[in-house]
Amino acid sequence: MSKSKFKNPVVKWIDHRLPVFSFMDHELNHYPTPKNLNYFWNFGSLAGFALVTMIITGIVLSMNYTAHVDYAFDSVERIMRDVNHGWLIRYIHMNGASFFFIVVYIHIFRGLYYGSYKAPRELLWILGVLILLLMMATAFMGYVLPWGQMSFWGATVITNLFSAIPLVGESIVTWLWGGFSVDNSTLNRFFSLHFVLPFVIVGVVILHLVALHRFGSNNPIGIDVRGTQDTVPFSPYYTIKDLFGLSVFLSFFAAAVFFFPNFMGHPDNYIEANPMVTPAHIVPEWYFLPFYAILRAVPDKLGGVLFMFGAIAVLFILPWLDRSPVRSSQFRPIFKIFFWILFLDCILLGYLGAMPAEGIYVILSRIATAYYFFHFLILFPLLPYIEKTKPLPISISEPVLGGGATASAFAMREKK
């Protein structure tokens, strides 16, 4: 079979002994993909692109960066001023973090909307949540490295959260810092971890892809592929579509890097870290703001920390919280409305995370936090009992609506 597949004799020789070419041909070329994917399915490959971009620019930056409290800030400025195109590499890395999160958040909301976390893709989803968690840790530690005011104070605030743990909290914080305050040893270990975690992410991404290719992509209708008439080979159909998506993404990304490179940053981070001067408002990077709002919404410190981590934890068990056998929101009229409420709730939380924790903002934060957990813990399990789903089409290639009985038969099959 490999005889006919590859013409190049070297490729043929290698592939016979080490079938990497067969593997790539199978997974990237012939890989059958539902033919009805919309543009929201572009964000997975975009996230992969963002990860690779971050790793490449990050490696180059690390060649010029000095992880020491006395030199870190100046070494970043040396990159900006004296390293050839250092400003470009650093701005790509800095804005790349924000764009990575934009892409990943859209990717996650797509999964929520189309029920991509449901059987048999539970592990695929869980690996994705794990990637999100690793990304957050990596981004947080990366933000500390330039050693500006927000780096320092953000690190101080976030690491201090662990002191809320009863009995051992203070010891854990000292252990994390490697001392009695955020200092040189903290910076060193954060640099070390910031360098290594992306490769851990790559590992989990590979598992994410293995799990994806087991059953293939979900699709906007959310019903299973019934045969080859429902799919197209990944190449050229989705390679070209991903290239188009990448071009659009890069246009936005380049506009930010070249024309508004500091828009998503904070001016205070261009002031060198000073443990003696606390900034008026300590705000995390925008992609943490919803979680920051949840943290501050709870009047108790330990409670706040638990709710904040709980906001991610509910995502891990989501495949078992949502009891509806129908995947796509297109056939779940009530779920669809609540999806958009959840989306706006997250935007509101992000907004509130940036506001000072006082007055109306605190009350709104509490309402928004309460809704977030209501949505996952109560609405998801209960909705299938009250919601009448629309009839499902028979197949992707024949989007003819079947009768109610047929649709529920399919739904039952999918539930298995």
């Binding site: 070209i240 998503m264 904070h266 001016p267």
Partner: protein, 263 residues
């Protein structure tokens, strides 16, 4: 058909998502800023095609040198960097030579030598404590990044430098503090730095406080982002390339998908 309608649907949602993210993050930068609003000036360097005004930058360097540098350092800037605001090698050499730096000679003694173009701008004080001691406890911040390190930096700086007015009667101004209508809390440790004809411009421009504030801001904006002109220039080429790539990949996609869509 479901395929078509879901595509249309997703396009609109994509726009919504993106604009919401932008709105969300812009609120965040507003939240962190001060509540005081400053006059919004028309800087030559703002906008995606904006460039620095060389004459203004050079006047700004003069203001920095004759007024600000008494207290404020610019430790991230090297004398050689002045080449990009239009000075030649000899001028830079002479400019640097007006300062002296400490070095260690072959006998191990600390000696002074003239600064060279490769040296960083010499700061007025040997260390932060000396700077505070000489300024009644207030630390004059280094100006290398000042425009990037303040929200709406250029407008803020210009406003601050021209914001010295008489304090309202009910406001008590302690000794060693000054009233500035644009400074957070209104009490600033820096005395009014710019007065009419505080410097004498070689090009004959009238040195009003407003003019000097604009010039020194232009200079400091460049010092904060010396790469800005290169960045925007490269950005234009990159955007043109990406537009072309987007168009080509779009039509290639349409062509490749045509048989599937027409099934």
């Amino acid at each position: 058909m479901i395929k078509g309608s879901s595509c249309f649907f997703s396009n609109n949602i994509f726009k919504l998502l993106f604009s919401l993210v932008i709105i969300c993050s812009s609120n965040f930068s507003l939240a962190a800023g001060e509540k005081i609003s400053y006059p919004q000036l028309n800087w030559t360097f703002s906008g995606i095609l904006g460039t620095f005004d060389r004459a203004s930058q050079q006047r700004g360097l003069q203001v920095y040198k004759e007024v600000c540098s008494g207290c404020h350092g610019m430790r991230l800037l090297a004398y050689r960097n002045l080449k990009s605001i239009g000075y030649n090698d000899d001028e830079i050499k002479a400019f640097a030579a007006e300062n002296s730096v400490n070095t260690i000679n072959d006998d191990g003694e600390v000696v002074e030598r003239q600064a060279r173009p490769s040296d960083k701008f010499v700061s007025p004080y040997p260390n932060d404590k000396a700077a505070r001691a000489a300024n009644g406890g207030a630390y004059p911040p280094d100006l290398s990044l000042i425009v990037k390190a303040r929200p709406d930096g250029a407008n803020y700086l210009h406003a601050l430098l021209t914001g010295y007015v008489d304090a309202p009667a009910e406001k008590k101004v302690p000794d060693g503090m000054y009233y500035n209508k644009y400074y957070s809390g209104n009490l600033i440790g820096m005395p009014q730095p710019l007065y009419d004809d505080g410097v004498e411009y070689a090009d004959g421009t009238k040195a009003t406080p407003d003019q000097m504030a604009k010039d020194v801001t232009a200079f400091l904006a460049w010092a904060s982002e010396p790469e800005m002109e290169d960045r925007k220039r490269l950005g234009i080429s990159v955007m043109l390339f990406l537009l072309l790539l987007t168009a080509l990949s779009y039509f290639a996609m349409k062509q490749i998908w045509a048989p599937i869509k027409n099934q």
